[in-house]
């Protein structure tokens, strides 16, 4: 599903974050990127998602060339992707329910199927009470849950989660962990998680890639 060759990634200040990264993740595989803040985890996720251009290297997702190339637009209609952002990422002029439904509507899902999938995602993430509110009117925790709910409703084949447990209270964390575990067990979807502390995902059967300011090391389970 993911094929990365000789990737180099720079920070916003021009510092080189990683150099010569080769990475292959098979369809249905799971990968946990972990390491200290500023190590390039989020940047690598954005490169994989096609929203950030790397300094160098090739990235292919589902056989489609993302970099060098058109980035995310090269994947349109080829790979169904879900991305849970660490903050923001929800349209501020739409309610949480509309935010979750929008990608489905654009996919052509409508009527009862749209309502069912949106409703199930909201219920699974315990967001029914705030579903009609806009992102600015709900807690940080609810916004993160809504990001996960949008991914859940979309039923994507590639899931990218950026710090999905950060800022969640205990109850929401349990719900999110259950969902992530289900995705990890699902062989039809490929799961990539970026998190500062890998221990929070010790229960996951996943390849681990530690990113730091120093050269990287890969630990396979």
């Amino acid at each position: 599903m993911i094929d990365v060759r000789d990737l180099a990634l720079d920070a916003l200040d021009g510092r080189r974050l990683m150099e010569g990264l080769d990475l292959v993740v098979a369809r249905g595989g799971n990968l946990l990127l972990h390491g200290p803040s500023g190590g390039g985890k989020s940047g690598l996720l954005r490169v994989l998602a096609g929203t950030e251009r790397p300094a160098r290297g090739q990235v292919r997702i589902g056989g489609q060339e993302v970099w060098p190339g058109g980035g995310i637009l090269a994947l349109a209609g080829h790979v169904r992707m879900g991305f849970a952002f660490p903050s923001g990422g929800l349209l501020s002029n739409l309610s949480l329910r509309e935010n979750i439904a929008l990608p489905l509507r654009f996919l052509g899902v409508s009527g009862t199927e749209l309502e069912r999938r949106t409703g199930e995602a909201l219920e699974r993430m315990n967001l029914q009470a705030v579903a009609g509110l806009r992102p600015h009117a709900v807690s940080v925790s609810a916004r993160k849950q809504a990001n996960l709910a949008r991914v859940l409703a979309l039923d994507p084949e590639l899931i990218l989660l950026d710090d999905p447990l950060e800022g969640l209270d205990a109850a929401d964390r349990t719900i999110a962990q259950g969902l992530i575990q289900a995705w990890a067990a699902d062989k039809s979807c490929t799961l990539i998680i970026a998190a500062e502390e890998g221990d929070a995902f010790s229960y996951l059967e996943a390849a681990r890639l530690q990113l730091s300011h120093a050269p990287m090391s890969v630990e396979l389970p």
Binding site: I72, L73, F83, F85, G88, L91, P103, F106, L154
Partner: protein, 261 residues
């Protein structure tokens, strides 16, 4: 060499800007053709929102401005015309000043002030909040969801606003002509009608099409370039207004030369 490079930098910047504008327009048109049936409803919903903000919400402002402008133009012009015994040219004057030039131009200026600033601000805030990236990664093409509805919305709104502007300006002109000089409605409209030609309609339509593109894509260009900080938003808005105004005046001159020179 450094001196030459410094001299060439603004030219290169301007050419890059034109290239980016052309890319945005062509890409938006291409993505419009690729829209599927289910996506049309989403795009139509966004277009309606843009029409409401740019068109409906500005209707009173545009009509009021035009009414006053039409009245003032006629007060100033009629006193000169009647002194020369040339009252019959009242229609020519209204068509020349209001319908041909000021109608589309002032409406575009008002839309730049209200809507292009809003579009640049909104898109900039969406960039900073990761909303544009979120749309793209979840299969919602930003050209189809953000750019196309704004372009269509501004185009339709501009058309409606120009019609209202021209109507209100003529009404303002007629009111003054009637109250102060006793001109009849039939005489006034006949004079206007005789001065209007199909070329005027074609020129106005072309202006609306090009102005709408300039207003929308300048705002999108500067709004979507915001990457890092909220302090970039006011800078982008200022650049949008200045750049769109220059573009609209340049296009107006170009069309005037093309049709009437």
């Amino acid at each position: 060499m450094t001196y030459l490079a410094r001299l060439g930098a603004p030219v290169r910047g301007f050419l890059e800007f034109l290239g980016d504008q052309a890319f945005l327009v062509l890409h938006t048109l291409r993505q419009a053709l690729l829209l599927r049936m289910g996506q049309l409803a989403v795009v139509a919903g966004q277009t309606k929102l843009q029409i409401r903000f740019t068109g409906l919400d500005a209707l009173w402002l545009v009509s009021g401005t035009a009414l006053l402008l039409g009245a003032v133009t006629l007060i100033q012009a009629f006193s000169q015309l009647s002194g020369l015994g040339a009252e019959n040219y009242i229609g020519v004057l209204m068509v020349l000043i209001i319908l041909r030039e000021l109608g589309p131009l002032l409406t575009a200026v008002l839309v730049i002030g209200r809507s292009s600033t809003a579009i640049a601000t909104e898109l900039g805030a969406m960039q900073l909040n990761g909303e544009v990236d979120a749309l793209a990664v979840h299969g919602i093409n930003p050209y189809q969801y953000l750019l196309l509805p704004r372009w269509l919305g501004v185009m339709i709104s501009l058309f409606v606003l120009v019609v209202f502007f021209d109507t209100a300006a003529l009404a303002g002109g007629f009111l003054v002509a009637k109250l102060k000089y006793g001109v009849t409605f039939g005489f006034f409209m006949n004079s206007v009608r005789q001065s209007l030609s199909n070329r005027d309609f074609a020129a106005t339509l072309l202006k609306i099409l090009l102005f709408a593109g300039a207003i929308t894509f300048h705002a999108c260009h500067f709004g979507l370039r915001i990457r890092r900080s909220q302090t970039e938003i006011p800078q982008a808005v200022t650049k949008t207004v200045v750049s769109a105004l220059v573009a609209v005046f340049a296009l107006d001159g170009l069309i005037a030369a093309l049709f009437y020179f």
